[in-house]
């Protein structure tokens, strides 16, 4: 019972945060409401007994990535005049709802064919560091190494793009 209540509470919060993201005009307000979405998603992961993912969602997503985005937004010092005027915004939004709605209903129907499952919280042996680590370093070792190369490439690329340019004579 408590679980169901918590699910509806956090689900509603995450949807409200996402709505705030796509409706607020200033990116700073959008980013703050997106943080709400990320934190309530972390709580939903905890409800699904994904303990490691819960911690990493909070630390990496709500912590690192969002503070990077907020830092850049503040760094660029965006005022009212810098914002693009979005005249066709409501028009595109309505068109998007008309186009996306049927796809959403289709996906929902497809998920309905899955067997109904319990979501009671599993204690030991699921979702902890040990279990995820065992799978990550045996079955998923090659993707793990590829992701590390990807992070290195992204690091070098970001430095090359945003770093100071020497003027070639």
């Amino acid at each position: 019972m408590t679980e169901t209540l918590l699910f509806y509470g956090f689900g509603l919060l995450s949807i409200l945060g996402a709505l705030g993201l796509i409706l607020f005009k200033h990116p700073m307000n959008g980013a703050m409401s997106f943080v709400i979405t990320l934190i309530s998603l972390a709580c939903l992961y905890a409800l699904l007994s994904a303990k490691l993912i819960f911690a990493i969602q909070l630390i990496v997503y709500a912590g690192a990535i969002m503070s990077l985005i907020l830092f850049i937004i503040m760094f660029l010092n965006i005022g009212e005049s810098d914002l693009p005027e979005e005249r066709g915004r409501w028009f595109y939004l309505a068109g998007g709802i008309v186009a996306i709605g049927p796809i959403a209903i289709l996906m929902q129907r497809a998920f309905k064919t899955l067997p109904p499952g319990e979501t009671a919280i599993v204690g030991d042996g699921f979702g902890g560091v040990q279990e995820v680590g065992m799978v990550l370093f045996t079955d998923w070792l090659l993707p793990f190494e590829i992701v590390s190369i990807l992070l290195l490439v992204a690091l070098v690329g970001a430095v090359v793009l945003a770093g100071k340019r020497e003027v070639s004579e």
């Binding site: 996402a18 980013a31 660029l76 959403a104 990807l150 690329g157 793009l161």
Partner: protein, 98 residues
């Protein structure tokens, strides 16, 4: 209950698509993409709970790593474009237009 989680994931994904379609601010578009990645993550974790296997959690970890790399690169590009054009409008960034 599993179905409710998956429905929430679909709703969040569609809101992300709507954000990308309807907004022209680079930051909002970028964060809407992050929202779609998060909705996919919720789907992975939910299905992992349904089948009691850890593969979904590992996939969610991979998605987070890719999102972190994407954030670093995308923000570098945004800074560069803001330096050159002084705007945050996605319509201004049309260097690749034929």
């Amino acid at each position: 209950m599993i179905h409710n989680y998956l429905t929430l994931s679909v709703i969040l994904f569609c809101l992300g698509i709507l954000g990308v379609i309807s907004r022209r601010n680079v930051f909002i578009v970028f964060m809407a993409i992050e929202l779609m990645l998060n909705a996919a993550n919720l789907g992975f974790v939910t299905l992992s709970r349904l089948h009691l296997s850890m593969d979904g959690h590992v996939l969610a970890l991979m998605v987070m790593a890719v999102a972190a790399a994407e954030a670093a690169l995308a923000l570098a590009v945004v800074i560069l474009l803001h330096k050159h054009k002084g705007k945050l409008d996605t319509d201004v960034f049309n260097l690749l237009k034929g």
